[in-house]
Amino acid sequence: MRARGGHIRASLIVLAFASSACHTILGPAPIDRNWTVHEGPRVSFYVRPGSFAELNVARLIDVLEDQYSVTVSALRLTYAGRVRAFAFNSAADADLSSTYSGRAFPDNEAFRFVCVAPLGDNLFGLMSHEANHVLIINGLGRARTYFMTEGLASALLSERFHSAGRQFLFPWTKSHRSQLPALSRLIDDGEWGRVDSQVAYNVSASFLAWLIDSRGSDSLRQIYSATSSELPDRIKTVYGRPLEALEADWLRFCDTWAV
């Protein structure tokens, strides 16, 4: 009888040892299951039941389908996979630092973002930016600079449903001339994190949007996968001009931009 009790206690200790080891600091949270699914032609939306996103899901799908077409067309991508969008109710719900936040997971063809009112430029711009990460990376592979990764995702924003793309970027560049960091600094991944993130995103997006508009996407694809150290020479080879000269052209263009 006592031996049997010992066996049970010993077995419990062994099981407790094993189960307590399951949680690791570095592991991900379990998959969230509180979603309602709404299907678009190329996009699936996962929204919280009864949320703001669910009430407006038809509009969100329209915006994202348009963005999908614009990005694929602009870069001549062959990628045509289904993208999954997860709309969270708040920054706390998404475990993100701010309401204007999102994250993309290209390997899983998915992204997530905070979806709160109003239904306008900020929300559509954020959602489209994250969707662009999935589309661009799965269409072209991984870029190797933050400048290209983050800049291109905003540079290709469609403005059919909002004005968070060129209509915002070029005037913003003009109005922030005195605060703009040099592009040679932004293309350096070591420096990227030292620049205010909003400035870094906007400057890189503005420059790349201008570059695509003025020189086409074929040239851009040739510099897309360059590393920080490779990018200046690659730009000079592809465009025939150094980065600084292109930067000056871009700033002149933005200075003359009329709203």
Partner: protein, 271 residues
């Protein structure tokens, strides 16, 4: 006395199944020389699920994809151990092929193309020491050790309009802690290991153009394993094992985490 000691430490490999079988081992026709290690072979096969999640932020709390790329497939393992009193040297080889992939979101599951696959070939070496001090209960023993492992893995992910293929070579060094309990014909083992990893990754993205990127990365690995041993003959035991492995691999401009759950059944033979 010598045979009793041998039987005791064989339990480190065979999950204590042979510990009560000291008498049976004593009947072996040619007992090993005094300093010769006992040799243990184990072959097992089973089933593994593999779940891959892209990571956007690797700082805790880790921001992993709400979608899992989930596959299942057969796994085969072969182990060889040399057991001396209070210590163990073990070599293991495992191969796994996962297919039948789906995207799993928690609320729905979508089949992936049949070409999606993940293949793993792992070799590892374990060194263990049995703790001399009792941990409070009779027949319950603790052990600590180290594990070195190398693994080659291949992923193939067929997107619509693009194909991703990746070859990872990973090496890891782990600290292992274990508990072992044995009674009569049945033994129970649990082990927990944490490893630091070094990864070399080559990734190929094939769409209308081809890009190849290779680079170094680092990572972590946590294994939790349990084994149940049932002695079915004097030198032979049936072993059922469960492994849950969590991993994270951090690379330049990319990171991923995966989880593997493996159930195997096999036979252990000792001489």
């Amino acid at each position: 006395m010598r045979i009793g000691g041998c039987a005791r430490y064989l339990s480190g490999v065979m999950g204590a199944v042979l510990a009560p079988a000291g008498a049976a081992l004593a009947q072996a026709p040619a007992p090993p020389a005094r300093d010769a290690p006992a040799i243990v072979w184990r072959a097992s096969a089973g089933y593994e699920t593999f779940a891959y999640r892209d990571i956007a932020s690797s700082r805790p709390p880790v921001d992993a994809s709400p979608v899992r790329w989930l596959g299942t497939g057969p796994t085969i393992a072969l182990e060889y151990g040399r057991v001396r009193p209070a210590r163990l040297h073990q070599f293991a080889f495992t191969t796994t092929t996962s297919g039948g992939f789906v995207y799993e979101t928690g609320v729905d599951s979508t089949s992936r193309p049949v070409g999606d696959s993940a293949r793993f070939i792992e070799g590892r070496y374990d060194y263990r020491r049995t703790l001399a001090r009792s941990i409070g209960l009779p027949r319950l023993e603790g052990e600590i050790g180290a594990r070195g492992a190398v693994e080659r893995r291949n992923f193939r992910h067929e997107l619509t309009g693009a194909i991703l293929t990746e070859t990872d070579a990973l090496s890891s060094i782990a600290f292992v802690a274990g508990l072992r309990y044995h009674a009569n014909r049945v033994g129970l083992r649990a082990e927990w290991s944490n490893a630091a990893m070094l990864a070399r990754v080559r990734r190929r993205h094939e769409a209308d153009a081809l890009t190849e990127i290779s680079g170094w990365g680092a990572g972590w690995l946590t294994d939790v394993a349990t084994h149940i041993d049932l002695r079915i003959a004097p030198r032979t035991a049936l072993v059922v094992s469960y492994l849950r492995r969590g991993e994270g691999v951090l690379l330049d401009h990319r990171a991923y985490t995966d989880e593997r759950r493996r159930v195997t059944i096999g036979l252990t033979y000792a001489r």
